[in-house]
Symmetry: C2
Subunit: 213 residues, 2 copies
């Protein structure tokens, strides 16, 4: 009977929904549990007596973005900026952090990170995974004002953190100001508030002998 068919269809539809919902939750939980590993991806800078990890770095970058958001004109869309910052290093769970002056590592970085992105964001329900991946790609492409503002915050954090910890990783390779500038110039080019803060930090780094003039 048609009514029975419809009701059977409805039951089937509800069953599929009920089945889909727990799978969706499990997908979120699997991704969020895996994300914990970013707390064990170590960076070149120190915090206190130990290496800084990429998870706490990402929080520090988010705090910088929140603090400086009203210092730039026009104001960036803070939701997009902070979403980018939350996901910008997630691929390092598999690909590892690549030190800004590790030339060999930089050669393979993009390839390693793309493969990691496919696997990690692939744990999520497809539309959520695509949205987070797009946010990561927006940051990498550096084509929007939000991506550039997020990059400025990211570079400022890495630079400030090195100077605050006495820059052992810079000293180890005898980093020159000129070589450091290759990394920092895109952030300086953003102008205020990044340029004056970074230039003041360069003065401090040189005065403290953390960079080779």
């Amino acid at each position: 009977m048609p009514s029975d068919d419809r009701s059977a269809e409805r039951r089937e539809g509800l069953n599929q929904q009920a089945k889909a919902a727990p799978e969706r939750q499990e997908a979120f939980l699997a991704f969020l549990a895996l994300a914990d590993r970013l707390k064990h991806t170590l960076r070149a800078a120190h915090t206190g007596e130990r290496r800084e990890n990429s998870a706490e770095h990402a929080w520090h970058v988010a705090l910088i973005a929140t603090t400086l958001a009203e210092e730039v004109v026009p104001r960036p869309d803070l939701g997009r900026v902070l979403a980018m910052i939350a996901v910008h290093d997630v691929v390092e769970i598999e690909a590892g952090d690549t030190f800004a002056f590790d030339d060999a590592g930089l050669l393979t970085q993009l390839e390693r990170e793309r493969a990691a992105a496919a696997r990690i964001f692939g744990l999520l329900p497809p539309e959520t995974g695509a949205r987070l991946r797009e946010s990561w790609e927006e940051f990498e492409a550096q084509e929007t004002p939000e991506a550039r503002f997020a990059m400025g915050c990211d570079r400022l954090q890495g630079f400030l953190q090195q100077i605050e910890c006495g820059a052992p990783a810079w000293k180890e390779i005898g980093l020159t100001k000129a070589r450091s500038l290759v990394r920092m110039q895109p952030a300086i080019d953003l102008g205020a508030p990044f340029a004056p803060m970074i230039l003041a930090l360069y003065d401090r780094a040189l005065a403290e002998g953390l960079l080779v003039p």
Copy 2:
């Protein structure tokens, strides 16, 4: 001569600006350098073999918010949510993290955190400090949809992290499901996606003997 007066005034104005700008930068840098200490504020949960800190926790909460933002209707303003999450634990730099089941600590938590907020946000230029403090207060007051969504992400992170690490802090105090629910009920009351994920995690916690039934 009036034109000289005006030009002298202009010079004076520019001098004041030039003087104000470095002080403003120094205020930002002092706040952002102090923020590093949140990476050494330890929480009750573990990550790997060590205690989790509040900075990496805050990043994990931001990732949860970014991931789940499109699962709730109406969609929260993600910029406000993620700004709240970035600042929500900054006061712990001075006040420390208070374990959710430390009844003695909870009694003095608000007072300790308010004093810390005044000192820490007080490092910033006044309008920036006021904005960050308002964001922290919005989270604490739990009166807006954004604050409640951020709270749901915060509670889910703490709960998931304990279960993932085998919940040594719960076992130590013999935490019961009923006592845990006092903490988790506000997040469960938000409905999907929080309620089904948290209820699924309760099933897992009980099956693994992490909570007393």
